[in-house]
């Protein structure tokens, strides 16, 4: 049995007198879908941004495959196989959907110098088409991403995170603002990607922040509940559902 893919140990972050995250530890195993839930202001996003190198934690360590990645920049993290999506839409509006997908992985091919002479699609055309078909966005593949509907852009956004076959993907509210009828589809897609994607087609791991409880319970293997910057519980969906403390603090009210 191999060790955890992602390990967060004693993560702390305060803003002045306000403690956003106070000593959070958890592990994500290879191939696991790990959900993070909690009320607004519970420190989910701060935790997420610390792991992703957007902000520097006050204390604690973050390890990826046993290597310390604390304090690395988003760029360095991506180069080590960490992909992400954003809470708000973040596509390249003027590029076509297909180019959005290609640019999402091209920097993992060759060197800066060799890319100057590489073909326009960096040899990623087939991979992009594969994801375009999987996400059902073939009919808009050549349109500028900025001209699509919100739901379609969200799909493009998610697909981009998987183009470089990352070992770990952090998804920040993948269902936020999406039409409820599409939520089931996203869940199915993520399950498929969990099995198919990843380096050398090994299953990849996800960390998912989401408010939609049905979605999280259905998708995730394990769930961490955060309240006021602390971990209240970590367990399988069934364990979380049965946890009286969680029910009282979060689900119950």
């Amino acid at each position: 049995m191999s060790g955890p893919l992602l390990e967060v140990k004693g993560l702390k972050k305060s803003y002045g007198a306000i403690r956003a995250v106070g000593g959070v530890s958890f592990q994500v195993m290879p191939g696991e879908i790990f959900g993070v839930i909690g009320p607004n202001g519970s420190g989910k996003t701060t935790m997420f941004n610390s792991v992703l190198g957007q902000i520097e934690p006050d204390a604690g360590e973050i390890h990826l495959n046993g290597q310390n990645i604390t304090g690395l920049s988003p760029l360095q993290l991506n180069q080590r196989g960490v992909g992400r999506t954003f809470q708000t839409l973040q596509v390249f509006g003027k590029m076509s959907v297909r180019d959005n997908l290609i640019v999402a992985a091209q920097e993992h091919r060759g060197t800066m110098w060799s890319r100057m002479f590489a073909p326009g699609d960096s040899g990623l055309g087939a991979k992009a088409d594969e994801l375009i078909d999987l996400f059902g966005i073939r009919h808009v593949a050549d349109k500028p991403a900025g001209s699509l509907s919100y739901g379609q852009q969200k799909l493009v956004d998610i697909a981009m995170a998987f183009m470089s076959e990352p070992a770990l993907v952090l998804l920040d509210e993948p269902c936020a603002g999406v039409n409820p009828s599409l939520v089931g589809g996203i869940s199915t897609l993520l399950k498929q990607l969990n099995q198919q994607s990843g380096v050398g087609k090994r299953a990849s791991s996800f960390v998912v922040i989401e408010h939609n409880m049905d979605f999280v319970m259905d998708l995730c293997h394990r769930i961490m509940v955060m309240v006021e910057g602390e971990v209240m519980a970590i367990g399988t969906p069934d364990e979380i559902r049965a946890n009286k403390q969680v029910l009282a603090a979060y689900l119950g009210s």
Partner: protein, 335 residues
Amino acid sequence: MKKQSAIIFTSVALLALLVAPHFLKSYGVYLLTYWLVFILAAMGLNLTVGYAGQKSLGHAAFFGIGAYTVAIMMKAGFSFWLGLPAAAAICFVTGILVGFPALRVQTIYLAFATLGFNTAAWLVMRNEEQYTGGTFGINNIARPELFGLSLDGALAYYYFTLGVTIVFGLLLFGLLRSPWGKAFTALRDNPIRAESLGVDVRNYTLLSFAIGAVYAGVAGALFASLVQFIDPAPFGVGQSIMMYLMVVIGGPGYFFGPVVGAAVGVVLPEWLRFAQDWYLFVFGSAVVLLMIWLPDGLLSIPDRIRARRESREASAARAAAVTAAAANAGKGSGA
């Protein structure tokens, strides 16, 4: 379809550029050469501003650095063919240095910073008389020879400039088609997202400045030999702003935008010199109107028409679908 028409358009334009000078007097040939020089400079700025989204208001400084490098080196007895690569190299390095502010500040702050750089460069050109001749400038700059052929004549120098412009145009075209082009566009559209996808924002930002600066430097070198006299005047902040306007008027991020922009920005006013005040008045007003009606520049017109047609077709299709549905419903209730 779009590709074909682009190829046809480009070939016709090239043919016209090859033949045109034979029907023009030497002033006409001079103007055409002048145009090419500014196309080359604006192409570089289009990379920095239009593709990579770095709001640079200091491009004329690179243009000036290129011109002064060649002029000073030629006065010191070096060949133009040594001066040209030196101009390009100096601009490349300066471009990287000027790019650093862009890593700290963006949009209008970056525009301010580059504008400041331009003012500083201009002050040096004006004040360091022992090198630049100050406001008196440097005159009698010679034109080069190529393989023993003198490029002294207006026509010969025109074809030389055309050749350089085409070569650099093709290089830029190739660069923009390579993964670099997508990386620059990603940087422009959303730098934070780009970084999270492995795009090295720092390298691409600096290189977008450096490569753009090389184009300006080469253009400046050609300019020095074309006009054969340089002083600090054409390399000030006003020229930078004009170059920025050329890119914006033509259409930032459109490959041929600088061709149109340079025509409107320098060739027309030069040609209409007798009515220059009127021209600039109309030009300024036109820029205001263009921003209001066509914020993406003149070359966005075809895209606009296409978008409008598509939305009209889409609404027509919707209307047809509604009518058909209504007709079906009518049949259904009738049966």
